[in-house]
Amino acid sequence: MLELLSLTPILKGLIVLAIAGFTFPITGVYLFRLNLLPMRFMLMHGAILGGAMALAFQINPFWTTISVNLLLVLFMAKTSRSMKTDAGQISTFFMVISISLAFIFIYKFNVPAKDTLTLLWGNLFTLSWTEVTGIGLFGVILVGFQYYFRRQLRALFFDREIAFTSGIDESHLYYAVVLLIAITVALAMKLIGALLLDALLLLPPIIASFRSRSLRGMIIGSAIWGGCFAIGGFLLSIAIDIPASSSIAALASVAFIIIYLIRNK
């Protein structure tokens, strides 16, 4: 099995999954705490729109997807605030708009729908070194952000109004968190696909939350579980020859069931 790691795409895949596994669940914690779960559907559909646009205009789908998601998040946050409407409702609206626009692009520019929908299951082994470096840098930014703003984030997740009255700039912090979520979702889609990204993003924080007594514990627990699922799932996929995304999701799900049963015993 180890000789496979001498193959550059496999090695890159392992490196990227390890980075993503240890760092992406941080934004999963953010998603939970800010009750932004509907937003991730918007981002998934936004990624399909980005993919369709990239194929239509023959530009880099990786960066286009990220850009589209960032724009969607900015629109969502701005609209939600100005209309004083729940972010979940607004993201549902943008989700529908995104997918409709995606199909308009697919139809009008004769984009093969099959190529666009490959985003739904990711393509871990086609990453360039630039993309690997980009994901690595993003992982560092994510960890740095969490560390530097840990106190403000704790206040934001505990109660936004209390954070505001304590002098914390909760509004900008909220936007920053939402932007990080957007980038993470776009990257996770690229790595393991839209349908399975929850295994990397959400299952680790859920498992970590079973025993955590603090945000710090939840973040560290999520990162450890995420890293284990990513690396373990990757090795499992090589060992039994199944797609990496499926093995990560399967491993995370089995771990979730076992831990859940132990907890409720």
């Binding site: 106190r151 403000q152 206040a155 505990f158 009255t165 304590s166 914390i168 007594r213």
Partner: protein, 339 residues
Amino acid sequence: MEHSLIVKLKAQTVFSSDQHWLYPLFELEDYLKQSDTIASDLFLSDKIAGKAAACLIVFLGIKKCHIELLSERAIPVFEANGITFTYEHLVDHIQCRTEDLITDKMSISDAYLFLRKRAGRVQGLSVKLENVSVRIDEKLVIDHLHLDLGRGEQLIIHGANGAGKTTLLRTMLGFIPIAEGTIKIGDYLVGSDLWKQNRSIIGYVHQENINNNFPISSGEVVQIGLGKSRISKSETEYRIEVAMRRTGSFHLFKQPYHTLSGGEKQRVSLARCLCQNARVFLLDEPTSFLDQQGKEDLLILLSELSLNEAPSMILVSHDLQWIEQLKWPRKELKGGRLC
């Protein structure tokens, strides 16, 4: 320099002050808080003392004193509280407006708090609402409301459900825009850039969200009060401990916040406001989820806070039985106005 106040412990001077009016006695209070000296062991010599000074001397716990010029009005205060005193000259009254303002109905604690406010030694800031109107979904909820609360004063706002009590508090916090009028907290105009930079002067205790099960310890909740200030770890720990001890919640430091009882949560929330160094406390229905014991504990805690830190406090509640016991001034919010 000749001192107006000299305090001795076994013939040795341990404190002196050359300030005027009642300030030497307040300085003595600070000294006593910082030192291990027992006030009843001290002997105090003052140039002049009226009823106000007598009340302060009693409050500080001094048992023996000598006054050069003593007002007759001070004597009943000393006698009623077992103070051993001597004097050189006795006068009907001293030329001080403050002495006239201390009424016989005031307890020593009431007089102390009154004098602190008069001396500007309260943490609280004034709260001034002028002609404030607030609309929510086109409905006028607050209608040209006026409110003037002095530094370190307390006020209970009561009224029926839906009268706009919470809206009023949230407007003061800047959560709800004002349709008309102005709100000033101290010198800060709510909504201004200066206020945005200093909005932590208001501590907010809202109705407890019972669904909030975020994994956070009580100590971490109190730490939120420090906002984005970057202070050393030891200073952080010190400020949290002091605030939690003040509200009798330090033993809950490591406990997950969501496992606390309603009363314990209120203690932790008030500690958060103290840690924040808030100078105005806004409390929204603080008894909502409290049992009888919790309500009694909160009553004591708020009374202690108003006496010691003396922040300005506005409390909204519809629990008439409970607010009756708090004995703070009350106003009813009716038709969008206070009456």
